[in-house]
């Protein structure tokens, strides 16, 4: 057969692509379960980290079981909140935050996770936004005064290593603890400021030197995402 003929070339390409597509489809199907399980564990781990739990995960032999255990122990409730701040039924854990944030504000159903920390309750809110190079996301937990930040955890898709990527580091995240999101009754979230550009107070944290754009993106993300919950905060405060 003439290997340089057009028919041969086209047929060869077609057959090759079909075979490869089949192989990849089978592999993707077979590996789906463990992959989804990994993502679920990672999400639970992030939620727990935002309230300072599951800190020993690196010393555990069976990480998955440990995370599941801690999650079952501390996260007592998960629900959705509508635009009026009212609890709604739904699968809070599997909400696609990215898709929800794209919807008009009135139609959003956003998840809230509740942690029972030896009698104290913390409320955990997922946040998501755009960093310098790609998506950034995280979880921020508030005390039940809906003002004081208890903890925060952030992650990113592809911020600059050593600079913007440091938002995923403990040094940056632990600054958030104890900050306030309301200044004299006005919602401000927690601002991330450039080193030394403003007086450090209860409403801001230091950004990362050399990672100013990513740091600012974190501040914007907190403001944008937490403001969706303002009605919820009001409703809860009235109930308290």
């Amino acid at each position: 057969m003439n290997r340089d003929s057009n028919v041969y070339t086209v047929l060869y390409a077609a057959v090759l692509v079909v075979i490869i597509a089949a192989v990849l489809a089978v592999a993707s199907g077979a590996l789906k379960t463990p992959q989804e399980r990994n993502r679920e564990i990672e999400k639970k781990m992030n939620i727990l980290t935002s309230v300072g739990k599951a800190a020993n995960v690196d010393n555990e032999d069976d990480k998955n079981a440990y995370v599941e255990n801690e999650y079952a122990k501390y996260i007592v409730e998960a629900f959705l909140v509508n635009a009026n701040g009212i609890k709604t039924d739904g699968d809070a854990f599997n909400v696609d935050l990215k898709a929800e944030l794209k919807k008009p504000e009135k139609e959003r159903l956003l998840p809230v996770f509740v942690c029972n920390n030896n009698g104290n309750r913390q409320y955990i809110f997922p946040v998501r936004g755009a960093g310098l190079w790609g998506a950034i996301w995280g979880y921020i937990s508030l005390n039940d005064d809906f003002n004081t930040v208890y903890g925060a955890v952030f992650d990113h898709a592809g911020e600059t290593p050593g600079l913007g990527a440091e938002i995923a580091g403990a040094e940056f995240q632990k600054q958030f603890s104890g900050k306030k999101i309301y200044r004299n009754g006005k919602f401000v979230a927690v601002d991330v400021i450039k080193n030394g550009s403003a007086t450090p107070d209860d409403y801001n944290v230091d950004g990362i030197t050399g990672g100013t754009l990513t740091s600012k993106a974190v501040g914007k993300m907190l403001l944008d995402c937490l403001s969706n919950y303002k009605k919820f905060f009001d409703v809860q405060k009235q109930n308290n």
Partner: protein, 216 residues
Amino acid sequence: MSQKEPLFSEKNIKLFTDPFNNSNPVTVLVLGICSALAVTVKLQPAIVMGLSVTVVTGFASYIISLLRNTIPNRIRIIVQLVVVASLVILVDQILKAYVYEVSKQLSVFVGLIITNCIIMGRIEAFALGNKPLPSLIDGLGNGAAYGMILVIVAFFRELLGSGTLFGFRIVPESFYVKAGGFYENNGMMVLPPAALILLGVIIWVHRSINKKLVEK
């Protein structure tokens, strides 16, 4: 050549060992530098990257060599790319399923194995003109030699940049200035330029041991 060659014939062994010295893809041919800079901050991702590249180069060379008499010449490069890309997707999926943490650290660099010049280089230079078994050995050897350089670079970067190896603390906490000691991690080691400098040093050492490599 009709006689069957034993697996561990001198020629085959040389195919595997040569990349570690005389024809090292990184230090002699200076290929695959991009990922050598990116994934060598810590040892663990460097080893996983080395293994992934070894698997991909080995099997890509083997598969292309099997197909070498059927591939239409005009779409030769595309066929090679399709085979390499599918292998890389497979590796990526497997990493995501079984070593999720590491796959997160490697992030885009697993996908970028496709663009690693070593793979296409070995296919073009060797697998297209040789039998499957020698091609497999050649691919594995080159991948492993690339991995070896990654591990050497990562060893120094993790030790000097973070004071750890495989995440275990080597430099005691009490040595650090923070804890009242005298020691600071070298911050430059965690940045890509350090890998470039280390690679330069490795090439220098390699050439001073192996005089054959020195250009006249």
